[in-house]
Subunit: 342 residues, 2 copies
């Protein structure tokens, strides 16, 4: 089988990650049941708050990665359900804290936890969710899951800290950018594929390949997310365009733009990033369109996706392989759906 | 041996918890070395920040509880050092988050992490410290430590959340008060004694007794802390008196005061707690002195300490017992050192 021409999950190839996950019917039900069950482990006074945060409306890319990388047959394996729940809880905990820091009042169409309960309680609620995720991870027979999830969480936090401290600064290299997205996004994708393939009973060589796949897909996903901040449709991504420029985050599209501009124009962009002047988002979006930033960024994204595909190339015969590769196609479809190439 | 007349740790009985810990010479050095070693596990960009938070200047009551409840002889056991480090890291992580929520700019005589790095980075730094604590906990051969520490952390957070949500409200019963301090403070004391005695190789009956001891001591310690907020010396406790009243926290001294006041005076105190009127701290302190609130609260505290002593009564022969009991005497000395009885 040619891994660049993967078998879709269903006849109608899913176009987004939410539909990939929805396509995993019995796995979805088992994960939802497992997540809902966790609410009863929280102290009675905070159960309603925990329930509010344990939202099952997201894309749930990480649980999908767990199930698909552990795929052997249709069977819903309880250990995959549990590890998917652990990773999703960690992710939900980071969202609660992210929303407090970004002072975001809306998350997935309703009030964020920070808005609903106050940021003081929400900091602690994020902590409690994370603590419970690790408690659930400790229910595996060995410390492997606990260890891997705890380490990944530290890396995610480290990536977010580095990004936070760099806000408003322009001395950020491409290497710095890739380091941060590797930590803040690719790490949980990586560990999802690692633990999914391992607990799914795949041989060590496949586990290594799936782990690399997860990491590369995660890097590509974050590049896509940063691209969508400038080339998405506002209604679809649920926020105004150019927020990264507004918050002083020097992401890849801005780096590419800076390289294509004249010295004087570049200085203007840098002044906007450092907050010395008010960002002229409309102008930057127009310049990005005019100078072909979209295709430059897409090239970088494609390099990551090709590496993801190559990692799985020797394992075309594994049931998990075409399923994982279909995610690459979903991401390509998502990128193609941005307004950039128009 | 009579457990109410314990053998002191040294000839000159230590008067505070910091000196108890300092008296554990080789254990102190081993713990400090272990904590400092952890810094290298953090991503290079956040090492300095992790190092800043991994402060070794505190009282370290929880590590002392681990070492003393695991005591068999003078030997420094690596597993006790590691679990003491895990619990101290969790405690330090909660302090980082507490300081953000309280907007405290000073912690142990220097800038808090939130003040030094900004509250955004500090929320994530607390998360990273906690994640690393769990990663260290996963280095034990079984999931026992991970599971216990993760569950205790969730309880600590739950206690803090409940307390936060109750600020400024007066419908708080004594039962509510004890529930919160059991979760927010006694839980880490309890798990310190539980894991210390278990990993120290004590028999199951002693582990159970030490666990009860830790919990009761923790409840007593929090009552002492709440008492010190009204009866401490400002220079010694490092903050102004009556902050709990100012922040709308209905603690045991305020509950006792409310019960001893006339209906109309009680309404005044309640109005101060809800923020309907400005707290008259000087007046409340005077009323507490006049009405004997100190001895009332001390009675409640003593009931907990006696239960702590009783738990260890059947184990007078264990090397750990007199050492743990000396902590009860330290706490009594601390209570006696408050300005209340003068």
């Amino acid at each position: 089988m040619n891994p660049t021409n993967p078998v879709p999950l269903s006849d109608a190839a899913p176009l987004d990650f939410a539909s990939v996950f929805a396509g995993l019917g019995p796995h979805v039900s088992a994960l939802d049941a497992c997540l809902r069950e966790q609410v009863s482990s929280f102290e009675i006074e905070i159960r309603e708050m925990a329930d509010y945060c344990i939202d099952t409306s997201g894309k749930r890319i990480r649980p999908a990665l767990v199930f698909l990388s552990g795929w052997q047959d249709e069977e819903v394996r309880p250990e995959l359900v549990r590890v998917a729940a652990v990773i999703e809880l960690v992710h939900l905990a980071t969202l609660v804290h992210d929303d407090i820091m970004d002072e975001a009042s809306i998350r997935r169409g309703r009030e964020s936890a920070g808005k609903a309960y106050g940021s003081e309680a929400a900091v602690l609620l994020g902590d409690a969710l994370f603590a419970h995720a690790l408690h659930l991870a400790a229910q595996f027979p060995t410390t492997l899951v606990c260890s891997a999830v705890a380490e990944s969480t530290r890396k995610v936090c480290a990536g977010e800290i580095i990004q936070t401290l760099r806000r408003g600064t322009t001395a950020v290299s491409r290497e710095d950018y890739f380091r941060v997205i590797d930590l803040k996004t690719a790490e949980l994708f990586r560990v999802s594929c690692h633990l999914g393939s391992f607990l799914g009973g795949h041989p060590p060589e496949f586990v290594r390949a799936a782990t690399t796949f997860g990491r590369q897909l995660g890097i590509a996903y974050q590049i896509f997310d940063d691209l969508a901040d400038f080339f998405g449709e506002e209604a679809k991504i649920g926020k105004t365009l150019g927020t990264d420029l507004g918050s002083g985050k020097l992401t890849l599209p801005l780096m590419e733009l800076a390289e294509l501009l004249t010295d004087s124009e570049r200085d203007d962009v840098m002044a906007e990033i450092t907050g010395r002047s008010v960002p002229d988002t409309a102008k930057r979006l127009q310049q990005m369109q005019d100078l072909g930033v979209f295709s430059k960024v897409n090239e970088a994204l494609e390099r990551e996706l090709i590496q993801a595909e190559e990692a799985l190339q020797p394992f075309g015969g594994a049931a998990a392989t075409p399923r994982l590769l279909s995610l690459v196609q979903v991401l390509r479809a998502q990128v193609a759906g941005l307004s950039g190439p128009l």
